[in-house]
Subunit: 315 residues, 2 copies
């Protein structure tokens, strides 16, 4: 039976991952987060309340060595920009501490633990041109992206040393986040879906021709699980994969919402573009990811499926 540890286990992605894993009896799960919903603990699952950056929390989580760690916890980009010291502490320093803790286990016990790290497309910074390739050199333009990139580099180095077996996934905007979640500059990507599906008006902070990279929550979980079980023999030395994405403009997304929820969606949506948000989240070019596809990672297929999966119950 393998021991799986999940940080940020009560977050948007974490909860969906936990739901998927709890169905399988061959795992025992240790969940770490600042808080858990009352009555959410399932049999065979440990919940540890606290920060993954707290050594005592890691002591408790790793009493039994971890086979697989999903590291999902982070301070989101917009919040990390405002609360810079917090983002530095959590997104960089606590992540480094977790990685070194696991590397310490990896020096004692083989095989080294698999660490699946939720990195971000924020590592790239501004992307020019019609199309970018998955080997696009990263030039982060916000601290969140800088710290994700620095963490990727350390995980790759510890993996090179054989003390860790890391897979870093650069996640695009995952939809549809609960409308109450804040701190993400890309919140509009989820809100537009929730509002139009519910028949409510929405003023979008990017223009109709703004393009973004999209992935549904179930598709994201599929990719995380694949990252946990894939072979890393022959993996690139960076241990980083840019996940395949759907590249859609707001207009294309609207067309798909109209197909599913009817013509009224066109009246419900209006635009009041904010330059900062458009620049950070609305100018993504097309993306080619042949190596990630070859490695078994997937996107949602098309806009209709993206919406269906993103708004599926309990996702």
């Amino acid at each position: 039976m393998s021991h799986i540890v999940i940080t940020g286990a009560n977050g948007f992605v974490g909860r969906a991952l936990v739901r998927r894993l709890q169905g399988e009896s061959r795992h025992c799960l240790t969940l770490i987060d600042q808080a858990f919903d009352a009555g959410s603990r399932a049999p065979g699952t440990r919940q540890i309340k606290g920060s993954f950056g707290d050594a005592a929390v890691l002591d408790a989580a790793l009493q039994q060595p971890a086979d697989i760690v999903f590291h999902l916890a982070s301070v989101p980009g917009s919040l990390a920009e405002r609360e810079h010291a917090l983002g530095y502490q959590v997104n960089l320093q606590a992540t480094l501490a977790l990685a070194h803790r696991l590397a310490g286990q990896g020096r004692q016990l083989r095989p080294a633990p698999r660490l699946v790290f939720a990195s971000s497309v924020a590592v790239y910074g501004p992307l020019d041109g019609e199309t970018v390739h998955e080997d696009q050199p990263p030039r982060p333009a916000i601290s969140y992206g800088a710290h994700k990139l620095m963490a990727e580099i350390e995980l790759a180095d510890l993996s090179r040393r054989g003390e860790l077996d890391a897979v870093s996934l650069r996640l695009p905007g995952i939809v549809a986040r609960p409308p109450t979640e804040s701190g993400h500059g890309s919140a509009f990507m989820s809100l537009v879906m929730h509002r139009l599906a519910a028949g409510e008006a929405y003023v979008c902070p990017v223009s109709p021709h703004a393009t973004a990279w999209w992935m549904s929550l179930p598709c994201c979980v599929d990719n995380l699980l694949h990252a946990a079980s894939m072979s890393t023999v022959g993996a690139p030395s960076s241990r980083s994969w840019q996940l395949p994405v759907l590249h859609l403009s707001m207009e294309q997304l609207l067309d798909a919402l109209v197909q599913r929820y009817g013509e009224r969606c066109r009246q419900l949506l209006s635009h009041a573009p904010e330059e900062r948000i458009e620049a950070l989240f609305g100018r993504y070019p097309a993306l080619h990811t042949p190596a990630a596809l070859e490695a078994g990672f997937r996107h949602d297929g098309d806009a209709a499926n993206l919406i269906r999966q993103a708004l599926a119950p309990a996702s």
Copy 2:
């Protein structure tokens, strides 16, 4: 009068930089290193003995705010690979602590302090092909290079926030290090010069056609001083410059040594290539650095001048 702080001030590059700066009365210098030579303290210069990673040492050094910090101290690559925790602590963590300390000053007092960071060509990892360009994506293959790259990213991010004014220079092999210095896998680049100049035999751990990137110590100091005074308006967001280098094979270097020290050099030099050293330090392709040249950085010009400068007295 500007306050200049130098870490690693008693190292190979540090001593040469200090000699150059001590001649100028418009600076006051604070030197940090683990040890200083007895009787080496010049008037107007403070020596602080200890690690720059020690908060008390930084407290003492930064009682008076720093205008310029040259951060030269590091655990060399070969040693950092063996003593991994030490390299992680000094090359990454202590460097981050220094940067955040200076950023704290930069948030209080404008202009933000200039930090000249001695990064390394070790950030690149294996370089394929005939020629590489200064925007070559880094893929570090040793922890030393990974930590230098991570530090560059953090310095760029703090500079973007306006709290620091960083310039990271990717240094090639600087010659000629004292024959007693250890911990550098590239030590052969200096030893071959010292030994042949002294008429002593030398068994070189790379082959005659091995190519490396070279820079003399005086040229390196010129570039560090330029980095301290240049404008960073319009600088690349990475704040990193690959210094121009001389790209020379061991054969080309030998020819230049023969020109200066005579034909006997050919008999004194033999080769016993070690694959690991050849792979890390002997396969550098040609390098184009148009942006660094445009920004005012320089290499030694030619092999004859490299040797003359590298072996000049007191350099």
